[in-house]
Symmetry: C3
Subunit: 348 residues, 3 copies
Amino acid sequence: MRPAVRSFELGELIDLLGGELVGERSQRIVQVAPLDQAGPEHLSFLGSDAYRAQLDRSRAGAVVVPAQLEISARTAIRAENPYAYFVRAACLLNPEPAAVPGVHPLACVHPQAKVAASAEVGPFVNIEAGASIGSRTRIGPNSFIGAHASIGDDCNLHRNIAVYAHCVIGARAVINAGAVIGADGFGGAFDEGRWLKMPHIGRVVIGDDVEIGANTTIDRGAMADTVIADGVKLDNQIQIGHNVTIGRNTTVAGCAGIAGSARIGANCVISGAAMITGHLSLADGVIISVGTVVTRSIDKPGRYSGFYPLSEHRAWLRGALSVRRLGEANAPGARRTDTKEDDDNANR
Amino acid sequence: MRPAVRSFELGELIDLLGGELVGERSQRIVQVAPLDQAGPEHLSFLGSDAYRAQLDRSRAGAVVVPAQLEISARTAIRAENPYAYFVRAACLLNPEPAAVPGVHPLACVHPQAKVAASAEVGPFVNIEAGASIGSRTRIGPNSFIGAHASIGDDCNLHRNIAVYAHCVIGARAVINAGAVIGADGFGGAFDEGRWLKMPHIGRVVIGDDVEIGANTTIDRGAMADTVIADGVKLDNQIQIGHNVTIGRNTTVAGCAGIAGSARIGANCVISGAAMITGHLSLADGVIISVGTVVTRSIDKPGRYSGFYPLSEHRAWLRGALSVRRLGEANAPGARRTDTKEDDDNANR
Amino acid sequence: MRPAVRSFELGELIDLLGGELVGERSQRIVQVAPLDQAGPEHLSFLGSDAYRAQLDRSRAGAVVVPAQLEISARTAIRAENPYAYFVRAACLLNPEPAAVPGVHPLACVHPQAKVAASAEVGPFVNIEAGASIGSRTRIGPNSFIGAHASIGDDCNLHRNIAVYAHCVIGARAVINAGAVIGADGFGGAFDEGRWLKMPHIGRVVIGDDVEIGANTTIDRGAMADTVIADGVKLDNQIQIGHNVTIGRNTTVAGCAGIAGSARIGANCVISGAAMITGHLSLADGVIISVGTVVTRSIDKPGRYSGFYPLSEHRAWLRGALSVRRLGEANAPGARRTDTKEDDDNANR
């Protein structure tokens, strides 16, 4: 565990974050911990009654609980949204390091780039002509900010981030290692036996308070911009194609892909490894389950799914054979297939 | 939008690219744009009659249209392949920057590496002994070219590209940030309770005119080479296993994976998130749909699919239960399952 | 093919690795090769009788074969585990380069970092305060080792590896380009219309003899550690969420994902593009097939599958329609759907 940067008395937390204290203001909290691992120096939380038994056994010094919860013989903070309260307390105990103003001597910053005096630029960073870096923003080692790209205030680009030319990133972005923002999208014209690459003149335009996970890629638009709205959270290893738009506060989990020109609404949840094909629209508030392929537009909020259910392998094999025959039966020239080969290859 | 690098009169385009002009040679075009966003200074295109209504409403200064199209009262260029023509015009307006010859003082180039005098090597690049870099090729910042690797003429390695030792890349490659070419492949021998790593002595050999997307990985061969033929286009976040071969002009979309020793034909289309298992063959001209798992060889061109259809979640759940029972029914020791747990977990 | 670093007489191999020699001790071997490509100077191997015909045609100078195999008129080494023997021989012929001790003048190593005198630190590497690098360990160009992170002895971090602060990596790790270890995990609290980011105070703790593929990402724990046990092998482009634990000698193939807080047993095999959802457990010895979504815990070893079988597209379309109707039939407010749209979009 990383040690906390500072500690608090419960009374200080109440003064800063609100909530109703049950117990002593002077009790000191040095870190957060889950109920089953917390000791007397830790703050923990109870998200729902389902964990009530864990609460009873916990050695936590204090626990954030729902506002209406009956508790006794325990130091607690009652809050409307216990998890959010707990996260805020964790942030107070473990603040992000502030930018250390200045440009590292082993960074290459073009004389026509604008870097705020309060920004931090690490070693082996390359910032091209016309780029701008906002106040208190940190550009981690080995990163690249292309010509005329713009990074807002209070951003944290961890390390080895690529922001291609002309892309725009708003305030308070958190971008993890290996993310690539603004590479050309995929596709071109086939002519005379070869593919011609379409030059991409659009940008990636990212709003405020966006998080981007490690090794996630967001392609620039071909002739319009790829747009990520305020508050969007993208996990690791996600692919966002050219000209995609994603609405406010939508979250996308790891390994998901959104193909070119898809329009995703606000407050959507795209689960891990889901794949949204191109040129379709998802309404606000759509939830896509894990591993689901979306091949049609969805105009009503709600949860949508489409992945094959898990079975023991032999049972899957029989079921998959039946499913395949559903399609092959009655078809012109239908032939029976067997799944012997699938069986041989399925876990290669 | 990025501004174009230069502008053209329509007559100049006709002289360079052919096509039949309907209108004035002197009309000036400063950039390309889609029909619905184009203004009088833009060139747009009509790919098919389906967009005829958009054409009628468009303010585009000129439009590339199919050769046989009836048009009136509009400046146009008739071309056999309007989209290819349009892409060529876009390339003339927005040429890739040329290499600025020279090695950056903060690059490490081994004295026994051969870098063409016309090549550009950016800062924080490491080029090892025996590597060679072709004429007019650009090696972007923070890239790595391993010992005895060879990069052809007129390539553009954007930034943070890893080309491991002994790999070969042909002419005119475009490689986006974070691509890794030539890491060892996966697998080994299990012996005495642990995995032994097989040293990989094969290479990755890439032909001419290949594009490789951001964060795509191509493993070197174990005892033979991994081979990517001329004109192949790979999107972002693709994994190509050791000893794979991919034929000419095949395209692979984002998040797809091709496992070790698979042989993919020419002119195939592998859609996004498709997964090809190892040691099988796909004929020329095979199209694999999005999210499809391929576990058997395919010896005839055509389109193949295999992903679960999307439904509202409750409907999916009922269907998935039925599908699972197809496999479990009549099986020795069959037991009924329910999908309660799946329901709980499907969008975690 | 890369040339071998050294050559051996068969007698030397027998002395080093054991096995029973059939033929002359003095025969010289300069490299390994598969049966169908080997010449008289190569060592090859026969893994199973299925390749017996290949053996008979092979020009290999010597072949490692199963201990009980009848052979005649051929130089061979009989071994209990021929493939493991062959891999060991390949390692002797092609040893990994040893560390060249020292810190490159263009690396940034904090004065409070501890780098073993026998370790190699490449150019453009950044090592922060309190980090430690073990004996004979190689830290390749453009890598990053965060504050208080610890890397064991005899590791090979190829290049552009990110190890975030406080993470721990054991001995003999092999980590390929672009891997990111210890970025914050995904998720937070939603409150007052926006997502609050949970600070991640856990670490990633990796045992001995672990391999990590190119562009694979492993998130640090939120309030506990993410733990990868000894001998685990991870392929390329894998995503491991926060608080995951993976048991000894488990292998995970390319493009797989393991969501937060999943607990994977020892000696499991997770095939390519499989997706394990969060907060569930897999027993030791579980095998998950390619492309399978796991949404429930599995408490018995064995093989489990769940992916849609491949068909020609028209057959798939009919089958998928039937499968969808299985879920929609008899449902309140059931409506018939068609798959026209899927058909249009499935290979975009």
